[in-house]
């Protein structure tokens, strides 16, 4: 009995093995049968510098699919598409969409955007949004669907670094503008992919440059402690900082990473506080920002604090109370929570229209960002000589001295060019006043136009 059963058992295991072997053989056969694919590297049409050095086009169009240039424009409507987290833990980003929608509603009520300016032909703007729950795979699906099903003219302010990186090949080989990406990442400076452009957010490496300059002037021998999110975002801060302190009397005493999907950084900050460093760089996002400040306060540590520009919001800073007092950070926009700005015409228009068209909190910086990004998009459209994808992308890549868009700072100008792929390179160094509960400008506007590429960690630009 036992013998028989063992034999049968063995037989069944053998069956399984034979099955496995068959599968393997089938797969090998399939693999061997497959001839090499035609090996064309780089589907994206070169890097913008043609051998002749002809400067007329920053955005190459030679490899673009034919007949797709005016898709998304029908009658007097331009359809734009966006993908952002509207559900899940990053759902607060929906405030950006509220700002954008308010601006376009306001614009459409004025008759729309005139393309090109002076032609008298006005277009209404329709913005189609899709929820991706901050999942890069869903963003790619959304982007593909926006391009092939919705047939959008251009993408606008798709949220997230990985989310846009996932769609990078599609937008570049389909030649669909992926404009004003909602991420200050440096990856949009990768010259192999000319159809993407970051928004007015300050590129992360520039923040370090400003802070190092500040330290050189005010505390030239400072020892710096760094808290960084363990991803490319945190890396942008720590790598750039490491480069910038070379050859100065500044030094980095400790860099500690934290899991960017958690906001508990108490133990990390306790460890950093023990170094008693003179300066503290917080390369963190969302609730980790106030947590870091509070842990710093608990430790009785009083360094000069630089906090990522992504944390600048009334909500996050107020959560840190007194611990946020005097910290340094940057902003490309007017602070909508500062009552001193309330009398400015740009601010009045913004407040009035956002209140009219949405239920968003007008003092929230993220709504102001959405409003300004939409205004910048309209600006790009009306500056374009023709209403087709190539011209609009070319226009976005060759902005000269753009001023007064949305809540853009009064003295700042935004520029892009064949060599300069970033918009948000003029900005204001600010310090936070916890009693007044808003930021205050510190010195004049910083203008680092064209400096992002050289300050970026090369590893992030290469692949």
């Amino acid at each position: 009995m036992d013998h028989v059963s063992r034999q049968r058992r063995r037989a069944s295991w053998r069956c399984l093995r034979v099955f496995a072997l068959c599968t393997v053989i089938a797969l090998v056969a399939a693999a061997c049968g497959s001839s090499r694919r035609n090996d064309t590297t780089g589907t994206t049409g070169g890097n913008g510098t043609t051998p002749g050095g002809a400067p007329q086009n920053v955005v190459p169009t030679a490899d673009c699919p034919a007949g797709q240039d005016t898709v998304g424009v029908s009658g007097d409507t331009i359809t734009l598409g966006t993908s952002l987290p509207e559900s899940g833990q990053y759902a607060p980003f929906i405030a950006i969409l509220k700002g954008e929608r308010s601006y376009f509603e306001y614009l459409n009520a004025q008759g729309g955007v005139e393309v090109p300016k002076g032609s008298g032909k006005k277009y209404k703007i329709k913005l189609v949004d899709k929820d991706d729950a901050y999942d890069a795979a869903r963003t790619v699906t959304n982007v593909n669907s926006l391009i092939t099903d919705t047939k959008v003219f251009s993408l606008l302010n798709v949220v997230g670094t990985k989310n846009n990186l996932g769609a990078r090949d599609t937008v570049n080989s389909e030649c669909v503008p992926d404009l004003l990406i909602a991420s200050g990442a440096v990856q949009w400076g990768n010259m192999k992919f000319p159809w993407m452009l970051g928004s007015e957010l300050v590129p992360y490496p520039l923040e370090m440059r400003v802070f190092v300059d500040y330290l050189k002037k005010n505390k030239p021998n400072a020892k710096i402690a760094v808290l960084k999110a363990s991803d490319d975002f945190g890396q942008s801060y720590s790598d750039t900082l490491q480069e910038l302190v070379k050859g100065t009397n500044l030094s980095i005493v400790q860099t500690t990473g934290y899991d960017p999907e958690s906001s508990d950084v108490k133990a990390q900050v306790t460890s950093l506080a023990a170094t008693k460093a003179d300066a503290f760089v917080i390369g963190a996002a969302l609730l980790a920002c106030p947590s870091a400040l509070n842990a710093m306060g608990d430790a009785g540590w009083k360094p000069i604090v630089y906090m990522s520009g992504t944390c600048v919001s009334k909500l996050l800073l107020s959560a840190a109370g007194k611990n946020a007092d005097g910290l340094l950070t940057v902003t490309p926009l007017i602070d909508p929570s500062d009552p001193a700005n309330a009398s400015k015409p740009a601010m009045q228009l913004y407040t009035q229209q956002v209140k009219k068209y949405s239920d968003a909190d007008v003092t929230d910086g993220i709504v102001a960002y959405g409003w300004t990004t939409a205004a910048l998009m309209a600006k790009i459209l009306e500056s374009s000589p023709k209403l087709d994808r190539a011209s609009v992308m070319e226009t976005a890549r060759t902005l000269t001295d753009v001023k007064g868009v949305g809540l853009q700072l009064a003295d700042s100008t935004w520029n892009t060019s064949a060599q300069d792929w970033f918009i948000g390179e003029t900005f204001q160094l600010v310090t936070y006043d916890s009693t007044a509960a808003h930021t205050k400008a510190l010195g004049p506007i910083t203008d680092l136009d064209g400096k992002t590429a050289e300050l970026s960690p090369p590893a992030l630009l290469r692949q």
Binding site: C15, V24, L27, Q89, D149
Partner: protein, 358 residues
């Protein structure tokens, strides 16, 4: 007995019908819809594997998103950085997941029931962190995004399978073919002695031991096989979604999706998980794409059902209601219904598609 034979005939007809429908899908549907069908198929593949472990062998795992990730990263990296074709990458990803499954299956032997679920939860939350630590590919992130050249079908694929600009068809057919192969494999496996051993160990481990079943080996094998299925699913996902990526929330949600597909479709049934995956994917599509448009003009509904933030809530509540009504899943429910029908009045006409097997 006649009822059983009838059931099998109907099952066969239904299966052939399903095969025909599924094989023409990409020629009728848009690229977006084709992708959605393909997603249902790869989730179904992973769920089929999980069903071997959970349904047939009684071990609950909520961490198979990690094995899925291992498969996806293996295929993604080989195709993107080493210029491999898709199919050969399966020769690496599937065995790799199998081996990792064995390595994790052994300690899991000591752990029973819900404790195992927790250890596997650990897998799902730690795996994304590991990729962030060690993988720096697209733009220096842990994302591996593939470009069109890499995703294009190999030259030997006949053009009617993938017309120009429709690489999604290639992705679909590969996933479809693998799903069919694995359905057949699962069918044979659960009918074999090994399949009966799985069930015996699930129903009473100690009793199974006394009749000469090596329970430990069976359990480790079940774990490793389910990991292999999840790995194959992950590999397919690279073709379908054009990328490999891991974040905690997504990996956890994927693990849940597999489990939900198993339960909705019917535990311990061969095609249940595929049916369940189809239901899960269509439900999520309806909730997040169709529903908001339908209710967009009705005030209260727009703020609740039409609010994208509510889509997980709708899904969660439907899920609970579903298991209230059909605790044994769609396939189980249909079988129960059929059984009642035939025992009541024999020879009644079938009203619903029947499952392929028992």
């Amino acid at each position: 007995m006649t009822s059983r034979r009838q059931l099998q005939t109907i099952g066969l007809v239904a299966a052939i019908g399903a095969l025909v429908v599924l094989s023409v899908v990409p020629h009728l549907a848009s690229a977006t819809d084709t992708q959605r069908w393909a997603q249902a198929l790869y989730i179904g593949i992973a769920a089929m594997g999980l069903n071997l472990l959970t349904g047939y062998n009684g071990q609950v795992s909520i961490g198979h998103g990690a094995f899925f990730g291992v498969g996806a990263y293996t295929t993604g990296l080989l195709m993107h950085q080493h210029d491999w074709q898709f199919l050969p990458t399966l020769l690496v990803s599937a065995p790799l997941c199998f081996v990792i499954g064995v390595l994790i299956g052994f300690p899991a032997l000591r752990v029973k029931g819900l404790y195992l679920a927790l250890v596997t939860l650990g897998l799902a939350v730690v795996f994304p962190d590991l990729t962030k630590h060690y993988v720096h590919v697209t733009g220096g992130t842990n994302l591996v995004a593939l470009n069109r050249t890499e995703l294009a079908p190999p030259a030997w694929v006949p053009t009617w399978l993938s017309s120009i600009g429709r690489d999604d068809q290639w992705a679909y057919y590969v996933t479809f073919a693998l799903a069919v192969v694995l359905v057949v494999a699962t069918y044979l496996m659960v009918r074999s002695r090994f399949g009966r051993a799985l069930i015996a160990v699930r129903d009473h481990e100690a009793a199974a031991e006394t009749v000469g079943i090596n329970a430990a080996r069976v359990k480790v094998m079940a774990f490793a096989l389910s990991a292999l299925y999840a790995g194959v699913a992950g590999s397919c996902a690279v073709l379908v979604d054009h990328l490999a990526n891991a974040d905690k929330v997504q990996t956890f949600q994927l693990s849940i999706k597999f489990l939900v597909a198993v339960v909705i479709g019917g535990t311990a049934t061969v095609i249940g998980p595929l049916v369940g995956a189809g239901v899960v994917v269509s439900l999520q599509w309806i909730i997040s794409d169709v529903l908001p448009k339908r209710v967009s003009s009705i005030g209260v509904l727009e703020r609740t059902l039409g609010n994208p933030a509510a889509s997980p809530a709708i899904f969660g509540i439907l899920l609970i209601l579903f298991v209230f009504v059909l605790p044994d899943g769609i396939v189980g429910g249909v079988r129960r219904f059929w059984g009642r029908l035939t025992s009541g009045r024999s020879g009644a006409p079938p009203t619903a598609p029947a499952p392929l097997t028992t």
